[in-house]
């Protein structure tokens, strides 16, 4: 098993004192050193190449390594980027993560028909991400295969009906199977993940995995499985032969208000609102998860993640504690 950390933990889609600092290339250079100093010599990066979504546009002015444009503009070149990582004790970029929501935001902000253009834009995003993965010398492209279910039903489906949703699922599955061929030709493995708000949540995940080409793996996230009410250990065992880039992510949030159906599931307005927790502050049994992975002979990457932390340094240290002291790896 190999261990890494996702740079998506440093997001600017947030607020609070000092959030702006996270945009600066200088802050990112420090961040890589913090990551490397904690013994994570492997990272995952996001793929977010579009710019009509204004937040995505801002991201292209930052140090966040989301596209070849940013690498060349902010780091000089891919070679200089790799050298910087090496000097931060980071030797590998294992994977690239893309999100269906980015395709939706791009189409929405382009003021063209969303139902007509979402899937072509999602396909374009996957193609760009596969190429970006080869540019960063990664091996895996992890796909969040749908935007939030609430957004899909309200704005992407031509009509909010069960038939339209089923057709959407069918179209996404066809698109993913087509993308798998492209990825294989470039020596890249595709995986899908399933957020608690995804179209492919709970039993829909199993339908998805049955219909996807067997070369497409499953990259579960522990927090998102927990929030859906799924048994993490049983899920890992079920997919023991198709797992890749398993994400460790903490929470204690239980979605009693069915936030997964809302337009802002990770930002609840009713009831409990804190969805993600720093590693060790939530209720996920990472020892149990790790033991299960050992038991099933999992031999791919284990990626550490923290979402919406109040403090990047604290979150990094807590991931370090979990890894080095709790899991002893």
């Amino acid at each position: 098993m190999k261990f890494g950390l996702t740079t998506e933990m440093l997001t600017i889609r947030t607020c609070g004192p000092g959030w702006l600092m996270k945009m600066a290339i200088g802050y990112w250079k420090k961040f890589y050193k913090y990551v490397g100093a904690l013994g994570f010599d492997t990272i995952e990066v996001p793929s977010s190449p579009f710019i009509h979504d204004p937040v995505a546009w801002e991201v292209t002015r930052t140090g966040m390594p989301v596209s070849d444009f940013v690498i060349n503009a902010m780091y000089g070149s891919f070679e200089e980027f790799f050298q910087l990582l090496k000097e931060s004790w980071i030797n590998e970029i294992t994977s690239v993560h893309l999100r269906g929501i980015d395709a939706y935001e791009e189409v929405k902000e382009s003021y063209i028909s969303i139902p007509d253009n979402y899937l072509p834009k999602f396909e374009e995003l996957i193609d760009i991400s596969i190429d970006y993965c080869t540019q960063v010398k990664g091996k895996n492209v992890i796909i969040s295969p749908s935007p939030e279910l609430g957004i899909v039903k309200k704005w992407i489906l031509p009509e909010d009906t069960n038939a339209a949703l089923i057709k959407f699922e069918d179209d996404v599955i066809d698109l993913l199977n087509k993308a798998a061929d492209k990825a294989q030709a470039k020596n890249v493995t595709l995986s899908v993940t399933n957020e608690f708000w995804s179209v492919f949540r709970k039993e829909k995940l199993h339908e998805l995995m049955e219909r996807l080409d067997t070369c497409i793996k499953y990259a579960p996230d522990t927090a998102h499985l927990y929030i859906q009410g799924e048994d993490i250990v049983e899920t890992l065992k079920r997919y023991k032969d198709r797992l890749a880039c398993v994400k460790l992510n903490d929470t204690r949030f239980i979605d009693v208000e069915n936030n997964y159906l809302s337009l802002h599931p990770e930002n609840p307005t009713v009831g409990k609102q804190k969805v993600f927790y720093d590693m060790g502050d939530g209720d996920i049994d990472f020892v149990g998860v790790y033991k299960t992975l050992l038991e099933i002979g999992y031999d791919d990457y284990l990626i550490f993640n923290t979402e919406k932390t109040s403090s990047i340094p604290d979150a990094l240290l807590k991931m370090g504690i979990t890894r080095q002291r709790l899991l002893d790896i």
Binding site: G18, L20, P54, M74, L263, N267
Partner: protein, 312 residues
């Protein structure tokens, strides 16, 4: 009672790219876990309360906040009612960027997009859009004369559409914009149609480019409709520092400071406000601050203590 000619608004961009909630229900969900101050900055309710407590009458939004206003509140009028309930008069304006306006082939899409932002601010009950007139200097600069003219044509159409809905478009220059030091005077004085397009004087942005904001106000006050007031210690910065990729965030510079903490003599500006009987919104920005609440409070202190006695 002395007439108040100026009203103070605040640009909320420095509170976050995405304000996470309309209202936090229970502070202890965060505070019990991490004992930090971050939870005080996560929701709109607290942000607006800080502004009211500091004596602001208005606030400004960024265009990228629109989807989240709509997700949380539904119609923009609900957000307007929300801020009024907390004690603000209104959302006075929105900031946007006419990214790509130097490319005529993109005009239709840009105009369509900004028309929607005009509707957004109109639905909020606001009055103006501060509009960066073109792309960032990196990677499109330097622009040809034709590209500068194309940008102006785009802005003029946007301004005409906005005026029909009672909204003012105010060109807002940035030190890292493709319309920069060597074009901006021509662009503002000769190319934009002052009947439909006004100017927003951002005191720090123009100073960083090499202009004296006091001089610009003296020259352009007839069509200056709005202001972004912030201070700077980086006056007349070299081209290479302004034109490079991610200029605002790349160098490690702190470009912007609280009023009174930099090199701009705001007492001279307020003296000119008195001379020209300036009326309306003065918006304060706190770009680049590590603590928006501290900078907002310090700025308002400076205004109340040193500027309001000159002209209110």
């Amino acid at each position: 009672m002395e007439t108040q000619n100026l009203k103070y608004s605040y640009m909320t961009n420095m509170w976050g790219m995405v304000v996470q909630f309309p209202k936090i229900n229970d502070f202890n969900e965060w505070y019990k876990v991490d004992s930090m101050n971050n939870v005080y900055f996560l929701d709109w309710e607290h942000i607006v309360k800080y502004l009211v407590a500091n004596g602001f009458q208005g606030m400004e939004l960024m265009w990228h906040m629109r989807p989240w206003v709509e997700k949380f509140f539904g119609h923009p009028r609900e957000f307007a009612a929300f801020v009024q309930d907390l004690g603000l008069e209104k959302v006075s304006g929105v900031f946007d960027i006419a990214d790509g306006s130097e490319d005529r082939s993109r005009h239709e899409q840009i105009i369509h997009r900004i028309d929607a932002i005009v509707d957004f601010i109109a639905d909020l009950g606001g009055e103006y859009i501060q509009l960066m007139p073109a792309s960032g200097y990196y990677p499109v600069g330097p622009l040809t004369k034709d590209q500068v003219r194309d940008s102006a044509d785009c802005i003029n159409i946007i301004g005409k559409h906005a005026k029909e809905k009672g909204i003012d478009i105010c060109v807002h220059t940035e030190f890292w914009c493709a319309i920069n030091k060597y074009d901006v005077e021509w662009f503002v004085e000769d190319l934009i149609d002052h009947d439909n397009v006004k100017f927003c004087l951002d005191t720090a942005q123009v100073a960083i480019m090499g202009f004296d904001p006091i001089d610009l106000y003296e020259r352009w006050h007839d069509f200056i409709r709005s202001f972004h007031c912030k201070d700077t210690t980086e006056v007349n910065t070299p081209d290479e520092d302004r034109f490079k990729a991610g200029a605002e965030f790349g160098s490690g510079n702190r470009w912007f400071w609280e009023l009174g903490a930099g090199m701009t003599d705001f007492t001279k500006l307020w003296t000119l406000f008195k001379k020209y009987n300036q009326k309306g919104w003065i918006s304060i920005e706190t770009d680049g601050t590590p603590d928006a609440l501290a900078t907002t409070t310090l700025t308002k202190y400076y205004i109340d203590r040193y500027l309001t006695p000159i002209y209110r």
